[in-house]
Amino acid sequence: MRPRLIFSLLLALVGGCASSEAIMVADGNRIAGSHMTVKPGSTWHKLPASANETSREEVWTWNGPQVDRLTLLPGLPDGKAMVSQESTADQQVPVFRADMTAQDLASMIEVSYRVNGVTVFDFEAIEPVEFLGGAGVRLRYEYASGIGIAKRGRCVMRVVGRRLYVMKLESVANHFDAVAPEFDQLVASARLSDRVPSSAQ
């Protein structure tokens, strides 16, 4: 019974991995259900949605989900949380507010990690950045998420028309420098369609 159970589990896991789709769009890839497009410079793979994700976000990977993950959150409305969470949970990620300062946004990101079990989280930099045609904020950070596993992250955010646009990269630390230029290229390629009212943060 047990070998059969394990075999079934493995099958389910392999099936889950196999369902990712390659993303190689020359003219720009529109993030589902949004006005945001990005233009990948190399092949990324879109991962199937998981229960932990909000319906608004897409998750891509460049070298496999156990190595790196790119989260695209295109247009989170005011009053919504950037992660899926139960309203009765003891610990809550703050909901996004359109009047958040860069410091508030950085805190929101830090809390989103800590409430999910990350115990070590340190910012390397919180700095202004050009994103979607205006001034946004870029976070660079490192965190620990498992015995012996150090990770680094980069997150670019901007509030446009009272909505939050986010591109976030997470990677094991020793792979980060390889994937970061691909992420930066994606960030630089990001555009909003003209229908979105442009109001800098």
């Binding site: 394990i6 589990l9 389910a12 896991l13 889950g16 998981s50 932990n52 989900p65 156990q66 993950r69 009765t88 003891d90 610990q91 809550q92 990620v93 703050p94 507010r97 300062t101 860069a102 410091q103 508030d104 950085a106 805190s107 830090e110 809390v111 990690y113 800590r114 409430v115 999910n116 079990g117 990350v118 115990t119 070590v120 989280f121 340190d122 910012f123 390397e124 930099a125 919180i126 700095e127 202004p128 001034a135 904020v137 620990a144 998420s145 498992g146 015995i147 012996g148 596993i149 150090a150 997470e170």
Partner: protein
């Protein structure tokens, strides 16, 4: 009828008051079962030890390990004072984990979470927790439990692998949390008798070392009150029985047991502690900002505010006021903006205000439209911490 009801109520109250004394394990005849030079020929025990030694190797280099030799040395000092002898066979690791926890493994490895350190107010409270864990170790509960659970370890490993595969690398389901979960749920589910015995053993050690015994029940009471405050902030009622992770006796009974046992030991002529300076405040001060940040950024406002107010019984400091403001800023309920602004403004009036308090004060002034004072506060932040991680962002704010 009402007289009958009140009589029943009185009887019930008396019964509740009497039960702890009957159920408490008196700290007499609790000999240590583990010696400093313990070695085993038992193959099963050796297998357990080899597995734990591999775990210790991982912990030694884990990014969660706090590099704090003085804290480890202090912990060693308290344990050795408790057991009354040098104990080079014991090893100590401080791990960055905001949950209240400590554990002593059969191999002599002790883990202390930062979530414990942040809640302790003095050395006696710390000694109470370490004494309890030492009780599990020296009474051989840890090894007994590992023996029982060894059969389940294969199932735990399968669960671990399956869970890791299913959830991939989502932050909340990664290895440390899973390992911690297995440790808590499987390996360290001591039974209630063992927990009570460890409490009694710990108090016995505290008595021998001359620590104030009532601090054990006080520590337990603080934890209970914090959980109630956490629940109350979410309009919930904390129900101790729902705490499925813990196999400790129900908290109210445990607090009573600890207090009863402390009183009993006090009547046995235990020696008062020699006048030794309580080094807790000194050793913890360099870490307090980090410890509180770990707690506050869990955004559990009821627990965080309780914790801050508890620590502030020794006096509000700049860092505590700043953290109070952070709790309100993260919670952002109605009126919290004003409460945060007040807390930051108070923090910067105190001599030990951290640089971050000036930044927070400046940003809250900016929100109010007081640009001149806001810029002064933000410039003060940059002067105090020119290489801050967010210095570029603050300079950008000042320039725009």
């Amino acid at each position: 009828m009402s007289r009958w009801l009140s009589s029943v109520a009185i009887l019930l109250v008396c019964a509740c008051m009497a039960s702890p004394a009957r159920s408490a394990i008196l700290p007499t005849d609790l000999e240590a079962k583990v010696s400093a030079t313990h070695e085993s020929d038992d193959p099963e025990e050796r297998g357990i030890f080899q597995g734990l030694q591999r775990l210790e190797q991982s912990i030694r280099i884990a990014p969660q390990r706090l590099n704090a030799p003085e804290l480890e040395a202090y912990t060693r000092g308290v344990v050795e004072r408790l057991i009354g002898r040098p104990a080079p066979e014991l090893r100590y690791y401080v791990m960055r984990d905001a949950s209240f926890n400590a554990a002593m493994f059969p191999t002599g490895m002790m883990i202390v979470n930062t979530g414990l350190l942040v809640r302790v107010r003095n050395e006696a409270q710390f000694a109470a927790v370490l004494g309890h864990e030492a009780g599990h170790y020296f009474r051989n509960h840890s090894l007994d439990r590992f023996r029982v659970m060894r059969q389940k370890s294969a199932m735990a490993e399968v669960s671990l692998a399956a869970a890791g595969g299913e959830y991939g690398w989502a932050p909340g389901t990664e290895p440390w949390k899973l390992i911690n979960h297995v440790i808590v749920m499987s390996v360290f589910r001591f039974n209630q008798y063992q927990e009570s015995e460890a409490d009694a053993y710990g108090l016995m050690l505290m008595a021998h070392a001359g620590y104030p015994l009532r601090d054990a029940s006080a520590m337990c009471g603080q934890l209970f009150d914090e959980r109630r405050a956490s629940a109350a902030a979410r309009d919930k009622i904390y129900l101790d029985a729902r705490d499925t992770v813990s196999m400790h006796p129900p908290t109210a009974r445990r607090i009573a047991d600890l207090a009863d046992t402390a009183d009993y030991l006090a009547t046995q002529g235990t020696r008062p502690r020699d006048e030794v300076a309580d080094g807790w405040a000194t050793v913890i001060r360099p870490y307090q900002a980090m410890l509180l940040q770990e707690q506050i950024y869990l955004n559990d406002p009821g627990a965080s505010l309780y914790l801050l107010e508890n620590l502030a019984k020794d006096g509000w400091t700049g860092p505590l006021r700043f953290d109070e403001g952070e709790v309100y800023r993260l919670r952002h309920a109605k009126g919290d903006d004003a409460k945060a602004a007040t807390a930051y403004a108070t923090a910067v009036t105190l001599a030990d205000a951290p640089p971050e308090a000036w930044r927070a004060h400046g940003l809250s002034l900016l929100r109010k439209g007081d640009e001149a004072d806001a810029y002064a506060a933000l410039n003060r932040y940059l002067a105090m911490k020119p290489d801050a991680a967010d210095a570029a962002m603050v300079r950008f704010t000042l320039a725009h």
